[in-house]
Symmetry: C2
Subunit: 202 residues, 2 copies
């Protein structure tokens, strides 16, 4: 039985929970009490020395970093597929997964962590504004790439969309109005049952 260490407010853990639902993979979800700093406790650091969620444990095989876990679930549970059948399509999915981390995930964390968990007087407004500009530039690129398409790669929902879902969720909180093709795509991926069932409580 797969065990997934996660937290309901973790964007990166949510990616894995979405994939588990999309692929109907049974797993035991273990919530790491991050408010009580359980992710810094020796037992957790022994599993994941970086003290982050998610961490996967499959009968003692321990794996962390959400994108590596998604690749592993795809390799071990290929049906239904969340990557295209051809090498070029798979490579493009990997490229978009990476760009989501570089151009959206980090910047989103810069904005939403303070907005969700800190009082306004502790916000670093300049850093948050810079992150917002970077996100807006990234969405312009996505807008071009999504022209006339329902999904980023080929005609199918893929691991690229799985990676984007938790971050797209926060456009309203970030006061970002995505351009039209990005807005339609965001709506499409947030409507999936796997997204609805993993929506963070706050």
């Amino acid at each position: 039985m797969l065990k997934l260490y996660h937290h309901p407010n973790s964007t990166f853990a949510r990616r894995v929970r979405i994939a588990l639902i999309e692929k109907a993979i049974p797993a035991e979800l273990i919530e790491v009490d991050m408010v009580a700093r359980a992710h810094r406790a020796p037992w957790y650091l022994a599993l994941n020395p970086y003290g982050r969620v998610p961490t996967l444990d499959e009968d003692g095989f321990v794996l962390y970093e959400s994108t590596a876990i998604l690749d592993y679930l795809e390799a071990t549970h290929p049906t239904p597929p969340l990557v295209p059948a051809d090498a070029r399509g798979r490579a493009l999915v990997a490229m978009h997964m990476k760009l989501c981390d570089l151009q959206l995930a980090r910047q989103t964390s810069t904005i939403i962590f303070p907005k969700r968990f800190l009082p306004p007087e502790r916000w670093d407004q300049e850093l948050m504004a810079q992150a917002k500009r970077e996100i807006e530039r990234h969405l312009e690129v996505l807008e071009t790439q999504l022209q006339g398409k329902e999904y980023l790669v080929g005609d199918c929902y893929s691991l690229a969309e799985v990676c984007y879902t938790p971050f797209v969720e926060f456009f309203p909180l970030m006061e970002i109005t995505p351009p039209p093709a990005v807005a339609a795509w965001s709506g499409r991926i947030l409507q999936r049952p796997s997204a609805a069932q993993t929506k963070p409580p706050r």
Copy 2:
């Protein structure tokens, strides 16, 4: 014929050049004149909207982000392999590739870009010291993981080492003395012909 847009001083492009040599894949190397800001020119931004190197062009199929390119070369040129044969081994390679980016590559850039290209009065000493501390913490984790092993995953040189090579190169410039197992491993991967042939001119 593969075309690779690169720059001889680019750490991320070097990863792909190493894999091309390890796999003996013929490719045309096209140097992007980054000093003249060719990476911001319209013709290059049409290939890679983020204006970074490397970018791969295989008969019109365009792919960027070094790790996605490495995965693609592995899928299309599987011999000699740079990943283990089993899904767990492959997943661990993907995990280490990601951690190299998160815990070493970014921090290394923070330190070496100023040291290589800016006069000392323009260095952000505080930011650079923070990056150095993060690298040292990461190397402690690697030290534990490399105990009794020649390579990070299984018994073989893999894409994990390909990703680390360009950053390990800069330990001396960063004035970082790696712990013993990391030092031995670094020496091992820097001695390969693929590393020697791609060593940056400065």
